[in-house]
């Protein structure tokens, strides 16, 4: 039996009919056609489906769309503005923070909340902070650097060197 829900996605309100069993990630990708949010493992391990729900990073493969009723969702499509890329997107671009790019939307959305709670995280805090996001290219070193770059930029400090690290 379908139920009506209203969700706000990247600031835009949508009223939709959903079955209770529909997962949030499917509604985002298939009904709203926002395919930046990826489905990786589909078992809440890999973090590719990470979005913000009322400002908190969650794995949208393990949340029912109906649970998001009345709530605000932010996806990777909402990060860039008319002024340009989000500092995290810029950080990933400048630091080679992505190889194949599959994990990137989830990494970005997780890092948004991480920097909001901790604007100047240590390397260890960043590594614990992205423990729920897997990069199968194993490009973690440059992902950490990308988040440090974005943190510096958002704090209004000089951004660190973007010399890529090859390991």
């Amino acid at each position: 039996m379908k139920k009506q829900i209203t969700i706000s996605v990247n600031g835009e309100k949508h009223t939709l009919e959903v079955e209770p069993r529909e997962l949030l990630v499917h509604v985002i990708r298939e009904k709203l056609r926002l395919t930046g949010t990826h489905i990786g493992c589909d078992t809440s391990s890999c973090g590719a489906c990470t979005v913000l729900l009322n400002g908190k990073s969650i794995k949208s493969c393990t949340v029912l769309a109906i649970q998001a009723n009345g709530k605000e969702i932010s996806t990777v499509e909402g990060l860039a503005t008319a002024e340009g890329l989000h500092p995290l997107q810029e950080g990933f671009k400048e630091n080679h923070g992505l190889h194949c790019g599959f994990c990137t939307p989830g990494m970005l959305m997780r890092a948004v909340e991480l920097l909001e709670h901790n604007p100047n995280p240590s390397e260890e805090e960043i590594r614990w902070g992205i423990a729920g996001n897997l990069c199968r290219c194993t490009g973690y070193n440059n992902i950490v650097k990308a988040i440090q770059y974005a943190g510096a930029k958002m704090r209004g400090e000089e951004t660190p060197s973007t010399e890529p690290e090859f390991v």
């Binding site: 039996m1 069993r21 529909e22 391990s45 990073s57 794995k59 393990t62 949340v63 109906i66 649970q67």
Partner: protein, 289 residues
């Protein structure tokens, strides 16, 4: 993977939730954080016909000291334990545990009540609650009842919570001075279930004699296990190396781990011994500081 069909309601009060439970009986499941239930439904290990989402019910999410207890609302998220001031000051055991539970996104959804009500000996809070001798508040249309944590776990996925009831709060007796607590689990990778986990709380008197010991074990027994003999060997004594070693030895002997991908039985017993000793020493260190 999409779960099998079910119907859904998100009541705004406990009374409304109780009447839905009355109506649907054991065909209904309570949805809190959903991070144990939804994966099970996707894999068809669970196919409830009705989900009662309790997330819109006010009054189920809090962390506060009141009337001699630390009270944790059932809907409190793991992430909220990590940042609560009272937890940072007096209950570092929760910081030890939450850091090792799944990952940040899961901890934003997962609830303390759900972690316990799921009735899985692989979850981390049951052992912690045993070390702290928590009580579980279970509510129904008839009112509230309190169950000691030792009488809460009946078997695999089976607990004292009946089909017409909801776990609403966890109460932890506020420990006296010179108390220390600690938790660690050995895990193969970040966010995994424990190969073995040990929770310890100790209270010492001014002379350094142990007046309280609580020791709970994770994932080395069909149900969460209290290491009773290990506690007995500590209480009433000064905690020298010999006693601590004996406590570790007893915990290793009294648990019943099964051999699986995380390790064989002997290995897990050996790890229980090592972790018990380490957590006792860490708890002593914290009790003294």
């Amino acid at each position: 993977m999409i779960p099998a069909s079910f119907d859904y309601a998100a009541p705004a009060s406990l009374e409304e939730a109780f009447s839905l439970l009355e109506q649907h009986g054991d065909e209904a499941k309570i949805l809190a954080g959903g991070h144990s239930l939804i994966p099970m439904m996707k894999l068809r290990f669970a196919s409830p016909e009705f989900l009662i989402d309790i997330n819109n019910i006010p009054g189920l999410s809090h962390i506060k000291e009141e009337g001699g207890y630390l009270k944790i609302g059932a809907l409190t998220r793991e992430a909220e334990l990590e940042t609560a001031k009272v937890v940072r000051a007096k209950y570092p055991i929760f910081l030890d545990a939450t850091k090792l539970i799944a990952d940040p996104q899961v901890r934003n959804m997962g609830t303390i009540g759900g972690n316990i009500a799921h009735g899985d000996a692989a979850n981390d809070h049951p052992a912690v609650m045993m070390a702290l001798r928590a009580e579980v508040v279970i509510s129904s249309a008839e009112g509230h009842r309190t169950v000691p944590i030792d009488e809460f776990f009946y078997g695999f996925y089976m607990t004292a919570v009946q089909p017409n009831e909801i776990l609403t709060e966890i109460r932890i007796p506020v420990p006296g001075p010179r108390t220390g607590n600690a938790y660690h689990k050995l895990e193969r990778k970040v966010g995994d279930y424990a190969t073995a986990g040990v929770a310890v709380q100790l209270t010492l008197d001014e002379q350094g004699t142990c007046t309280y010991a609580g020791i709970g074990l994770t994932n080395v027994n069909p149900v969460p296990l209290r290491a009773a003999r290990s506690e007995e060997v500590l209480v009433g004594h000064k905690l020298d190396e010999e006693r601590i070693d004996l406590a570790g030895q007893y915990a290793a002997e009294d648990c019943n781990p099964s051999s699986d991908l995380r390790g064989d039985e002997d290995y897990k017993r050996a790890m229980v011994k090592v972790l018990t000793k380490r957590m006792i020493n860490k708890a002593i260190e914290r009790a003294k500081s």
